[in-house]
């Protein structure tokens, strides 16, 4: 079975098989089926992730519709420019991920390594910008807890009305949990991509077998999609002057 120079191999039961691709695991009929099985498994995992984030989005929607004015006032205090920049950074990283998958499919080693490294760099940029945002929130006492303060903040579109600090605290709790959980996914993604980078450096990926690049890419794109929804929901509730 391990002798690839012969065209016929025998399995444990002495049955003859045509020699097959060493990248193909024995229980799969063909490489396409092996790839499909791997991405199907990843999609099932991503479906559980949809439900995981879905619960938080659901909580967000309920409180947003109860305390809309307070949420709009709190949303206005977050730095929209940093959020938009981070959205662009993640979109760029999604591009470098598809380039990495394509490079693995077409055996372009330096493009694969470069794309994986660039993806990590963009991921770190995202987390750095996120860190600046969090620091601002700490400085402004907008972190839920004993020192939370949100006084005399006007409700957009309602002159003379001010946000209820307890309701605004609810917004910031959701903001920190949702962006924090998203950032945790980014950190895990960076770990996965570091491992992919090491594997790529060692030349483990071939056009026949690059499953980790494919499903690692699926994970990264999913985290991007979560951010695509977080950005308008958290940063852009009511921004018009």
């Amino acid at each position: 079975m391990h002798d690839s120079s012969t065209t016929v191999v025998h399995d444990r039961n002495g049955e003859a098989h045509a020699a097959h691709n060493p990248a193909l695991l024995h229980h799969f009929a063909e490489p396409q089926q092996q790839r499909d099985a791997a991405s199907l498994g990843m999609w099932v995992f991503l479906a559980t992730e949809v439900m995981f984030f879905g619960g938080l989005f659901c909580a967000y929607l309920v409180y947003r519709q109860w305390y809309f004015g307070d949420f709009a006032a709190a949303s206005k205090s977050i730095n929209m420019g940093l959020g938009a920049t981070n959205t662009a950074v993640l979109i760029c990283s999604s591009l470098t991920v598809v380039l990495a998958v394509w490079a693995a499919q077409t055996a372009r080693r330096s493009l694969l390594i470069g794309s994986l490294a660039l993806t990590m760099l963009l991921g770190l940029t995202f987390l750095g910008i996120k860190g600046i945002e969090y620091r601002d929130k700490f400085v402004e006492h907008h972190v839920p807890g004993a020192s939370f303060s949100f006084e005399n903040e006007p409700i957009p579109g309602h002159p003379g009305q001010y946000a209820n600090a307890r309701h605004a605290q609810m917004f910031f709790s959701l903001y920190f949990v949702m962006t924090g959980l998203h950032a945790l996914h980014m950190i895990i993604g960076l770990g996965i991509f570091l491992w992919l980078l090491i594997m790529a450096w060692k030349g483990r990926f071939t056009p026949e077998w690059h499953t980790p690049v494919e499903i690692g890419g699926l994970y990264w794109h999913f985290v991007d999609i979560v951010w695509i929804y977080l950005f308008p929901l958290l940063y852009l509730i009511d921004r018009h002057p």
Partner: protein, 99 residues
């Protein structure tokens, strides 16, 4: 997947097209947020986000070209149960002050 990419022309043009569409969508969202559209601000923001997410899923995550129908079924099932969660919850909470 490699079968179709080696048989057909390189998918790079499509990848860059989707990339620019995503950047334009981000710019549009930020611009639309500065306009006073009343209740339609949220509709526009979520509409653009959904278009962007669909582009990422279909073309970057290869759902469009997935050879296995089961993969598409899992995607649709995940969305169905998410909409069930959000839809049924909001049909309660969003209608409580209607009395």
């Amino acid at each position: 997947m490699s079968a179709h990419s080696s048989a057909t022309s390189s998918p790079l043009k499509m990848y860059f097209g989707v990339f620019f569409a995503l950047l334009v969508g981000t710019g549009l969202t930020v611009y639309a947020a500065t306009l006073d559209l009343g209740r339609y601000n949220a509709v526009v923001a979520l509409g653009i986000a959904t278009i962007k997410a669909t582009l990422v899923a279909l073309f970057f995550m290869h759902v469009w070209h997935a050879s296995e129908k089961l993969t598409k079924l899992v995607v649709v099932a995940a969305l169905f149960f998410l909409l069930l969660l959000l839809g049924l919850t909001m049909s309660d909470y969003a209608t409580r002050m209607w009395s």
